[in-house]
Subunit: 107 residues, 2 copies
């Protein structure tokens, strides 16, 4: 076995985030949250052609990936991006492949 690539918890976390973002619906939810800072679930549902339960499931995936947070607000839930998670993701992507493919005039 040439298998010298150990899978770290960082890898797992990053893979989970990328997988979550790899779905167009979830990606759009992220963009919507980025644009509006905060949304109630039903607002997100209304912005899609999907059933409420489906959107709720997508939100769960984003939550478990550490990309969004939901705060209960009365009978509703208020969602926003998870700053820690998103920041971490950006750091990972930026630090990724440092040798190859670096951006110009940045280092």
């Amino acid at each position: 076995m040439l298998q010298e690539n150990k899978i770290t918890s960082t890898d797992i976390r990053l893979a989970k985030m990328l997988k979550a973002l790899g779905n167009p619906i979830r990606f759009e939810i992220m963009e919507m949250l980025a644009a509006r800072q905060t949304c109630l679930t039903y607002e997100i549902v209304q912005s899609t052609p999907l059933a409420q339960s489906t959107v709720s499931q997508h939100l769960k995936v984003l939550r478990e990936a550490g990309l969004v947070r939901g705060e209960v607000d009365g009978p509703a839930t208020c969602y926003c991006l998870d700053p820690d998670g998103v920041r971490w993701l950006k750091e990972q992507i930026e630090g990724w492949l440092p040798d190859c493919c670096s951006l110009p005039t940045k280092g």
Copy 2:
């Protein structure tokens, strides 16, 4: 319809890349290529527990997402990261969500 979010070709390209990266095997292939700069297909196959045909399929996904390039070299194919694609991805992620979740001491 509240649908004011137009889906651009940029969105589609980004979603395709994220989806491609969202698979652990493909993610590891990317990391391997990042570490070794260049690999023949059979080297990538050997580094995984998967069948050759499966790996070839994953490479196709990465190719079509614009993340890797394959250059025919005799009967073999030599793969490397696609610098343009990877750079573009990094730019997108970096420029993404500029208001929220920006990195400290960078701007």
